[in-house]
Symmetry: C2
């Protein structure tokens, strides 16, 4: 990959400007108000792939938001890399916690990003990380160094559960044939300690609704005599964890992959400072499942978190009401071997069974996906490891992540190929939070590293 | 009270029209957006009292919304009745459950109100019930039948805890001197079974805030490893009731007035159908403190209800977030002898003590007041009983209510006089709920009954 460093140096400002233009479009897939912006983003991605030298670029319709698909075939006998990414972003709220508007990107220096970081929703997740692949592609085509075939599949519904990607993949199995799938939608330990994510958690996301009386009631006249849906919801959710923070849903742990003491000892070698972790979050104490360390709790163990709760009067001042309804959004992170559809069913049955007679319960599954583990001895992992070693000057650490990319397990099932998660973000980049950002150094380092993956993957495949 | 029936018949439409005009002004004291409307309502009340024949009417400034004060003195040697009411109303949300806009009153017939009922926020609580006194006054002055002196004190902050009434009463003790206080802000059993409220519950209303990490976090990367403020809030609230639905705050029941078996047997005589109660609310089962009946649970027993809860992502779709903060509004209904300030302190100390180390807790007291019991042998109660007997044709049943009018206990302390709660609404009138309404028959029956209270109170005081 001759001249990659020089090419980046030369095009640095343009690479930044192009990404910033893409980030400015508020492609919030969870909120239908932004429908036109999501579509507009798909068109911008299409244009960028054309410019990067892809032969055919297409906006493929789905039942929801479209998938941008592109190809560049140089020789059918050479291996094919399928790049997956997403152009949709998380909702930006709570807005009042942002230091600058979420869709007006600004570049600011931080302690961890002395070269500056782009602050905006989607800066890292996943516009920034996805766009590194577009720019890496541009470099390889424009300098005639593309060593293999490439396909791009960039979707617009990742943040709402990739509802229509499964159907698209099933219906386009042939077209999507590949030798390895490459995704940048994860992080690494630090800019000085590169790492590659080798495991991700699965997810089951549900919404629950508790109905008590058929109308809101005066808490004086009815308080104490009828089931208050908020109190009941609190009791029900509270009962989902026992005193050791184990999840109490019957059968929940049945298929959980249990790591050996050796594997756990290996994990424990990753650099981690509990003090720095607590200080960064401004918490006095960590909190989680008894018998596991923080790094185990957020990677190899399943969890259950309430992501949103609401009911009754939440305005200014006071209202003495017993509401008719209370709601919560609840997600469970799953580990390899747990099947998300089965877990969703276990949750539903259990949650319905623990409701007292005075209320009615509805459990609505939102979306989900299974966990995944990348084998370290695969050609894909080895190519990625060599690529990082080339550009970072050190061997990357294999690491399990707590996040979920539900479609990775689906890809393996449907396309029968392994996925390599080459992430360049940091945990502190606040993805899904106010003030999300992505280091300029990280963005450019990603563009520099990706072409080496193509090179080594092609060489190792021979 | 000669000719009261004829007077009402003659002025029926005007009485309705005048009340409807007053209800149209959205005097929501809890929401500062409606500030001008609250003030406008005070002015409308002032005008109506002048029209009703009061000698001096004044809008008295407070730190918050003003108090409308009026007097009519006919002879210093005669007794003085002080009428208390409020011109502010509860917030109307959830708006989508109203069948007609909350501040565009409509008169519709219902099963319980064959003569029609006025549907609007404030129709009963308390504009309708308060305005009965204005119209009763108009009748007595215009027909020269006022038998004693009258004072009116109509406030605009009842629904937000009467924040400034205490100071006003303390600063105007002399001016407010009276022999009995008369309030219509409660209900009766049914139009065929008149009743007088002889006890009301106290109230302590607090807001709690749980802070976990210093920013919203991605639930994949941090889930299971840090305290989620919503999960924690749920656990903490759930722990406030034990398996028998007793409240677990240490000391909470220490001063609770325990009724004798005889008193409870007397209470149990009031007509009550559990089936009708459950059907009206569309619930399969009641729910409450073990060892007590429904009518005991909502009148002579203290309670703890969550009136509102919020935290995390509550928009459309899904967001995998661990929020930094979660909130709840919690109110406790108290019974006689429980001191609301003391209970608020007990709650605060207990709630702070049960928080795990990974979160910070704030408890903000909103407002409160003590419970109250009216002695059945008082002149005031006897006058009220005779007035109902005169107009309803049967002796009213004395009844404990679960609601709170915190200022009643304050009046006794500061003004040393007893309060009589002559309410004409029904429990089914949906006060504090969507589709609040007040029967036209009830409104007019109140106007008819009130002058008899003045008559009998003056006679019994001789």
């Amino acid at each position: 990959m001759n001249s990659i460093k020089a090419y980046i140096q030369e095009n640095r400002q343009r690479f930044l400007d192009e990404l910033i233009e893409l980030i400015k479009i508020p492609s919030i897939s969870a909120d239908s108000t932004y429908k036109n912006d999501v579509i507009k983003t798909a068109e911008a991605v299409k244009a960028s792939l054309e410019k990067a030298g892809c032969d055919s670029v297409e906006i493929c319709k789905t039942e929801g938001y479209p998938i941008v698909y592109a190809e560049k075939t140089i020789d059918p006998n050479l291996p094919t890399v399928l790049v997956y990414g997403h152009y949709d972003v998380q909702p930006p709220d709570p807005l009042d916690l942002w230091h600058s508007p979420p869709f007006e990107p600004v570049v600011k220096k931080t302690e961890k990003h002395p070269d500056g970081a782009i602050f905006a929703r989607g800066a890292s997740d996943d516009k920034g990380q996805m766009f590194m692949h577009v720019k890496a592609m541009e470099f390889m085509t424009s300098t005639n160094q593309l060593p293999c075939n490439v396909k791009f599949m960039i979707e617009g519904e990742e943040e709402v559960g990739s509802k229509n990607l499964g159907t698209f993949v099933q219906e386009n199995r042939e077209r999507l044939q590949n030798d390895v799938i490459l995704i940048s939608d994860t992080g690494m330990i630090s800019n000085n300690t590169p790492s590659i994510t080798t495991g991700i958690r699965g997810l089951s996301y549900v919404e629950v609704e508790i109905t008590g009386p058929n109308r809101d009631l005066h808490s004086g006249l009815y308080g104490g005599a009828v089931a208050n849906p908020i109190n009941i919801l609190n009791k029900m959710i509270a009962s989902l964890h026992d005193e050791n923070n184990h999840i109490t849903i019957p059968g929940f742990y049945d298929k959980v992959e249990e790591l050996s003491q050796e594997e756990r000892a290996e994990m424990a070698k990753a650099p981690f400072s509990l003090e720095a972790y607590q200080n960064a979050l401004d918490i006095e104490s960590i909190h989680g499942e008894k018998g596991y360390t923080t790094n185990e709790r957020n990677s190899i163990r399943p969890t259950l978190d309430v992501n949103g709760i609401w009911g009754g009067y939440i305005g200014e001042g006071a209202k003495t009401v017993i509401p008719s309804k209370a709601y919560a959004k609840i997600s469970m992170r799953l580990v390899p071997n747990q099947d998300w559809a089965e877990i969703t069913e276990l949750f539903k049955n259990h949650f319905e069974s623990i409701a007292p007679k005075g209320v009615k319960v509805k459990v609505k599954p939102h979306h989900g996906g299974n966990g995944y583990v990348t084998p370290l001895n695969s050609i894909g992992y080895q190519a990625a490891s060599k690529a990082y070693t080339e550009t970072f000057g050190q061997i990357p650490i294999p690491q399990r992540s707590g996040g979920s990319i539900p479609i990775v397990a689906l890809f393996e099932e449907e396309l029968n190929s392994k996925t390599i998660l080459m992430g360049f973000g940091l945990d502190s980049d606040a993805i899904h939070s106010p003030n999300e950002h992505f280091g300029v150094w990280n963005y450019l380092k990603g563009i520099e590293t990706i072409p080496y993956f193509y090179k080594y993957f092609t060489e190792l495949s021979k």
